[in-house]
């Protein structure tokens, strides 16, 4: 599991790659929370295009991030979930809670 990010005029984009399970979720949440506290973005974009696997631990992480962004007066958007991660998200109904987008697809 690895994280990288870019920040540009109020928009923080966090790129997740690897496998997001319970083992990886706590550290991932901590890193993203630190980024949110540092940049206080109006919009946080979670780019999942590099994610090879995700389970319900990832669902919990997205729900928590969405809540945190609302507390900050901003919004969370999930971009480019592919294959298995997309099916887990739609099974858990996350697409009704968080804005989803596919860029260039």
């Amino acid at each position: 599991m690895s994280i990288s990010f870019t920040y540009l005029s109020g928009r923080l984009t966090v790129y997740l790659s690897g496998e997001l399970d319970h083992h990886a979720a706590r550290e991932t949440m901590q890193k993203i929370t630190e980024l949110l506290d540092e940049y206080l973005p109006r919009r946080c974009v979670l780019d999942l295009s590099g994610l090879r696997f995700m389970d319900s631990s990832g669902v919990a992480l997205i729900v928590r991030l969405s809540r945190r962004m609302r507390e900050l007066g901003g919004t969370l958007c999930v971009e480019n979930p592919v294959g298995q991660a997309r099916r887990v998200l739609s099974c858990a109904g996350v697409d009704k809670l968080v804005h989803f987008a596919t860029i260039g697809g």
Binding site: D21, H22, A25, S56, S57, Q84
Partner: protein
Amino acid sequence: MNIRNYISIDFPSCSANEAFARAAAAAFASQLDPTMEELGDIRTAVSEAVTNCIVHAYPRELGRIRMRLRILDEDTLDIAVRDWGVGMENVQKAMEPLYTTGGEERSGMGFTIMQSFTDSLHVRSQPGKGTTVSMRRRIFRRNRIG
């Protein structure tokens, strides 16, 4: 019911073994020539079941988890994930969507995902004795030989 092949693996409930368990299940299932999507479903279901043992069955200590995989008849993968942990009073309640005792780090969607990614799901649990989650997933034949 014809059992064509099986494995059983015991491992401790440390979270690093979540990735191991789903990789082992995918490797065993590969003899049924699954599609990438079917493999993804199997990995997801196993990950949820094993994570439940780690988070809920053994909340304060490491315990033993047993994953048994069987090939039934020509095309069905049978998955059983067993623990000897705290068990559940009310299995039906635990299986309700969004219900969790795991706090905000858990989504309460584990059983819903297991149910939706497999063909059948059975949970047996006894407080103080442990829990067994059994799932079956049919892998559709394509051009399999043997």
